[in-house]
Every structure is written in structure tokens, then in C-alpha cells.
């Protein structure tokens, strides 16, 4: 399996939160990243399709980060990301960072296993394009 740090979604997240973010900011960043994934994929695979991938990703990541287990039960229709935000906000910064990286990495791997890395990159390109065109990472140099 690909190294988490090299995963483009994880890099996108790192770019969004910077080094000084607290767990609430990490929670916001992961939710906004998911929203963009949803926007990118829903036209192609439908709301139910993306919700099913989301649930599978939580299941896979929950094996290591047990605090993610059970936040998305009884899934029908669209995704409610509020429980995800709350779960991340409850963690300390280190746990939230690690959990967020694992979650996005697992999602990327899941999609790549279904449609291949190349098409995954094409489908999610808008997600990292948004992050690159967004506000620049904080520059602390004088």
C-alpha cells in the first residue's frame, strides 16, 4: 500500500491545516475536503454511491482509529458530516491529524482499487486544484 504521506489527498489536507492547527481546525478541514470529494464524485456516481464509499472508508479506518467506528450508522441517502466533525474535534491534535490522514488515504486507496490510480487522480483533480488555488499556507517568515 502506498505511503500515507505521499497520498495526494493527505498532502491536500496538510496544506489546508498547516502546522499550528488545533483539532477543531483539523475537523473543519476534513469536513471541507469531504465536501469537495462529494462535489467531485456525486455527479458521476450519485449520492448513494459516494455515501457507500464514505461508509466503507470509515469502516477501514476504524480498524486502527476506533473512535471513528459507529459515527455513520444506518446510512441512507446523503452524507451527514456533523458526527465526523464532532469525532475529530474530541481528539487531541496528534490523534486528529493521524486519523484524518488515515481516513483520506484509505479513501484514495479504495477508489484507486476500483477505478485505478490514474482515473482516481482525474476524478479528484478538482479537490487538490481547489486546495492549491486557495489561500496560501501561512508564511511565518519576516
Amino acid at each position: 500500500m502506498e505511503n500515507e504521506k505521499n497520498s495526494p489527498l493527505v498532502a491536500t489536507l496538510a496544506q489546508r491545516v498547516g502546522n499550528d492547527a488545533d483539532s477543531a481546525q483539523i475537523a473543519d478541514a476534513i469536513v471541507s475536503t469531504w465536501r469537495e470529494i462529494e462535489i467531485a464524485l456525486t455527479p458521476i456516481i450519485g449520492q448513494r454511491g459516494i455515501a457507500t464509499l464514505y461508509k466503507r472508508t470509515l469502516y477501514l479506518t476504524g480498524a486502527t482509529y476506533v473512535w471513528l467506528v459507529g459515527i455513520h450508522e444506518g446510512l441512507h441517502g446523503g452524507m451527514d458530516l456533523a458526527p465526523l466533525r464532532a469525532a475529530f474535534a474530541r481528539q487531541n491534535k496528534a490523534a486528529a491529524t493521524a486519523g484524518a490522514s488515515a481516513l483520506l488515504h484509505n479513501f484514495h486507496e479504495l477508489l484507486a482499487s476500483l477505478v485505478g490510480p490514474s482515473l482516481t487522480e482525474r476524478l479528484l483533480r478538482s479537490v487538490w486544484a481547489n486546495s492549491l488555488s486557495g489561500p496560501p499556507a501561512q508564511d511565518n517568515s519576516p
Binding site: 456525486t42 455527479p43 458521476i44 456516481i45 450519485g46 449520492q47 448513494r48 454511491g49 476500483l114 477505478v115 485505478g116 490514474s118 482515473l119 487522480e121 482525474r122 476524478l123 483533480r125 478538482s126
Partner: protein, 504 residues
């Protein structure tokens, strides 16, 4: 001044499909691609879409309840035509599952309108339309709802200048399905299964405004996508008009004395049938024909169905293939059709600018064909011969002839009448030995020898000897010396039993 509308015909990007469509796909047409599950509808749609769509003329692929889009993308990207970069650029996938689950066709149509306005597509695909039909059953009057939906969709797409494809399955062609009425084009895909072979066939049942090639045409799905084998005749029909005057030149056979028997060689462009029993030397004659061509600077093509091509069947032919003087067509696909063989042959002929073609043998060829084509073997063979004649090549075909001495036959397929020339080989028994004899039976519009000549085969090939003037009844397999045959019948009968001990 002509004021009638000029209908553009679009190249579909599917080899052979434009030919059977009658010159391509009419722009702004409203088409139905139908057929049973697994017959290649979605693949056909994708292949056309990737060929047709450009950023300026994008395509919209609407996935409805059928195949999950992730699965579709997973499998379709295995084909050579699939281009990741085209997605979200010149090709937009849109999922209508959520709208369809409500069973409200109006809502689905509204979403389609919104997506069409958003992307301004030149091509729209709805996959699969069966799900639309099923969804419409959720409501009161399904047939009428569907009719209204199709009518509105057709009107919308045409006014939006989009060429449209509905992909559907399980349609019954005898149904008075409203889709059939509205559609400008009906492309039907089928699978014909016979024993262990499955052959894919495509039929253009309707295409408004143009003459299509009627009937079922075979196609194959390979890693590059779909390849339709248009009938052999269409590609060469134009050529044969210009080459209508028969050639006066002759090609040499590579066997001394045979050329004189043929009246000076085989007229160029003729088809020759060499018929004879197993082991009589047909393949050796064919090899000599190709080798003689190579000596004269002519390339050749051999379609071989006889033996394992990896076993060195014939050193001469193997060397010619190795040196690139002869192209080998050697398809062992279980769904082989004559049209496919003709295309393979013609492409090798073009590649090598070949002038000599050998088919060795017709019997092996028939066995290599998918069972479903065997019933039409004679008709197809006739198409093959005329396609090769149209290509201007000289053809030698071998045919296994069961050794029967009670009748005189040249080919088990009645292939004799299709060919311009016939050579027959037979075994005869003389002096407790099996000898071979050969005769030229026919050379169309040319004088030829009528002699039955004995011939032998050694490591240098075929050597034609003399006629056997002192023997007669050669074609009966048990010739008798003439003076015995002249005797009264009762004595001749006795002579039969003592004949093997007679001196030659």
C-alpha cells in the same frame, strides 16, 4: 440551388461500423442501442463516445439504474479507447440514480434538461434505458408515460442539436415499443451461441435517411474495443469496376510442365482450386506457387488452417514467411467468420502489396469457422473469392477430396463453379504402387491441356512426368492397360483380378 438540408455523417470510431451504417452516423439522430446483457452495448457506446467527443463538442453520459458507474468505469478503462483525460473535460458522466429511484419520469427529464443546459453536449448517452422503462411502471399508465418521456427527450435532444443514444436491453423487436417509432436509428447487438462458440453480431435495423448494409454482421470485442467485420464485398466493389478487363498476363506456377498444361501459366487474377486426397501434394504445389512468386519479386499471403503453425509444415513456406515475402494469416479464434478472414487477408495483401494468395485448405478453413457460419459456407466462400478477385490477386485454394472412385468430384463444397481454374490430383494403383496423377480440369477462357499426367514428389518438390497413354480408367483408381480393356467384357473382368501382376 439546393435548399434541402445536408445531413452530416459522423465517423463513429468503431472499425467497420461506418460501412454498415451506410457512411457513418447521421448528426442529431436519436438512436437506440439494444441487445441482451453482455452483448457489448455499453462498450459500443463508450467507444463511439471517446471517438466523437471533443472539448468543443462534449459528450454527456447519463447513467441510470443499470450498471453501477464505478463498475462501468472500472471495466471500460480496460479498453484502448478509454482516455482518463477526456473525463470531466470532453466527457461528462452524470448519475441519475437518485431521480430514477423516485420513479418520477418528469423529475428525471428535468434533471436531464438541467445537465444538457449545463454542459451543452453534442452527444448524449442514456445507459440503460431499460431502467427508465422499469421506473415508469411505478406510475399509473406506464406505456403512455414512457411514450411521453421518449417523445420529450427526443424533441429536447434534437432541438439541442445533440446526437443521442439510448442503451437498452431486453427489448423485444416485435413489440410496438414507442421508442422504436421515435428512434431514427436502431442498432441491435446479438450473441449467437452454438456449441462452444459464441459469435457476436450487429444489425442496423433502421437508420433514417441512409441505406445501411442489411443483415447480421459479425463483430469482435478485443482490447482495442469493438471491431465490426463489414461484408467483404463492400470494400472491393469499387475496385473491381476499374479492373474489369481481365488481365492477359499469366503467372508461373513454379512447377515445370504445369504451366504448359495450364496453357502458359495461370492467368493473373484467376482463382485456382487444387483438389485432391490427403497427401497428394496440394500444399507442396501451393508452396511452389508462392516460392515462384517470390523468385519473380511478387509477395504472397497464405491463410493456413491445416497444421500447427509452429511445427515446420513446409520449409519453403516457413522460409518465405521468415523472410517477409509471404504474410501468414492464421486465426484460430473460436468465433472466426469468413468476413473476418477476408479482412485479415486484405490487410496482409495491402501491407505486403501481395499478388499471390494461398488458402490451405478449404476443408481446414471450414473447420476453423464458428459452427454458426458453416451452414452458409458456400455463400461466404463465394464472397471471399470475389473479394480476392476484386483485390486483383491470383488465388490458389486447396481442397481435400475424399478418394472416391465411383464418381468424379472436384470439391466437397461445390466450390468448383466459383473458381476460374481447377487442378485435380488423384492416386492410382499401378503395379502394386500408389502413383499420383494430375490434370487441369478447367481454365476459364483459355485453352489448356486435357492430359492426365503422372507426377512424383521428392525433396525438390513436384515433378510432372508423362501421360500414361497405355493405361486407361485412371480416374477410377484402378487403371487397366489398354489392350486388356479392348477385350470383350467377360475376359476384361478376369483381367481385373490378374492386373496387379501385369508388367507396367
Amino acid at each position: 440551388m439546393s435548399s434541402t438540408v445536408n445531413i452530416n455523417r459522423l465517423a463513429t470510431g468503431v472499425p467497420g461500423l461506418d460501412e454498415i451504417l451506410g457512411g457513418g452516423l447521421p448528426e442529431f439522430s436519436f438512436n437506440l442501442i439494444a441487445g441482451p446483457p453482455g452483448c457489448g452495448k455499453t462498450t459500443l457506446a463508450h467507444q463511439m463516445m471517446f471517438a466523437l467527443a471533443t472539448p468543443a463538442r462534449p459528450a454527456l453520459y447519463l447513467t441510470v439504474l443499470g450498471e453501477p458507474p464505478l463498475k462501468m468505469l472500472r471495466y471500460q478503462q480496460q479498453f484502448g479507447f478509454f482516455d482518463n483525460e477526456a473525463i470531466n473535460h470532453s466527457i461528462h458522466f452524470v448519475n441519475l440514480t437518485d431521480e430514477m429511484l423516485t420513479g418520477d419520469l418528469d423529475q428525471a427529464l428535468r434533471r436531464i434538461v438541467a445537465e444538457v443546459e449545463k454542459h451543452n453536449p453534442s452527444f448524449v448517452f442514456v445507459d440503460s434505458f431499460r431502467s427508465v422503462v422499469l421506473a415508469s411502471r411505478a406510475e399509473g399508465n406506464p406505456q403512455q408515460n414512457l411514450q411521453v418521456f421518449v417523445q420529450q427527450l427526443g424533441t429536447l435532444m434534437t432541438s439541442w442539436q445533440a446526437t443521442t443514444f439510448l442503451i437498452g436491453e431486453y427489448f423485444n423487436e416485435t413489440d410496438a415499443n414507442p421508442v422504436f417509432t421515435v428512434a431514427d436509428g436502431l442498432i441491435w447487438l446479438r450473441q449467437s451461441v452454438q456449441r462452444n462458440s459464441m459469435v457476436r453480431k450487429i444489425e442496423i435495423m433502421k437508420m433514417r435517411g441512409q441505406a445501411t448494409l442489411p443483415g447480421l454482421h459479425t463483430f469482435r470485442i478485443g482490447s482495442a474495443g469493438i471491431n465490426v467485420f463489414a461484408p467483404a464485398g463492400t470494400a472491393v466493389a469499387k475496385r473491381s469496376e476499374t479492373d474489369a478487363v481481365p488481365s492477359q498476363t499469366r503467372v508461373q506456377m513454379g512447377v515445370s510442365r504445369l504451366d504448359e498444361m495450364l496453357g502458359g501459366g495461370l492467368p493473373r487474377g484467376y482463382s485456382l482450386l487444387v483438389a485432391g486426397p490427403s497427401g497428394s501434394g496440394k500444399s507442396i504445389l501451393a508452396a511452389a506457387f508462392l516460392a515462384e512468386g517470390a523468385r519473380a519479386g511478387e509477395n504472397g499471403v497464405i491463410a493456413s488452417f491445416e497444421q500447427d503453425p509452429h511445427r515446420s509444415r513446409n520449409r519453403i513456406v516457413a522460409d518465405l514467411i521468415k523472410n517477409g515475402r509471404v504474410g501468414l494469416v492464421d486465426s484460430r479464434a473460436p468465433d472466426l467468420s469468413i468476413d473476418e478472414i477476408v479482412l485479415l487477408l486484405l490487410s496482409e495483401i495491402r501491407r505486403l502489396k501481395a499478388t499471390r494468395v494461398v488458402i490451405d485448405s478449404l476443408s481446414g478453413f471450414e473447420l476453423a469457422l464458428a459452427p454458426t457460419f458453416r451452414d452458409d459456407f458456400r455463400e461466404s466462400l463465394s464472397r471471399l473469392v470475389s473479394a480476392l478477385a476484386g483485390a486483383g490477386v491470383t488465388v490458389l485454394m486447396t481442397s481435400e477430396l475424399e478418394d472416391r472412385y465411383i464418381d468424379l468430384r472436384f470439391s466437397p463444397y461445390g466450390a468448383a463453379f466459383m473458381t476460374d481454374a481447377i487442378i485435380v490430383q488423384r492416386y492410382i494403383e499401378v503395379d502394386s504402387r500408389l502413383l499420383r496423377v494430375m490434370a487441369v480440369v478447367k481454365v476459364r477462357a483459355s485453352a489448356h491441356s486435357n492430359e492426365l499426367r503422372e507426377f512424383s514428389i521428392d525433396e525438390h518438390g513436384i515433378h510432372i512426368g508423362c501421360p500414361l497413354p497405355d493405361q486407361e480408367g485412371l480416374l477410377g483408381g484402378r487403371p487397366t492397360r489398354k489392350h486388356l480393356a479392348d477385350l470383350p467384357p467377360a475376359i476384361a473382368d478376369d483381367a481385373d483380378s490378374i492386373r496387379p501382376s501385369l508388367p507396367p
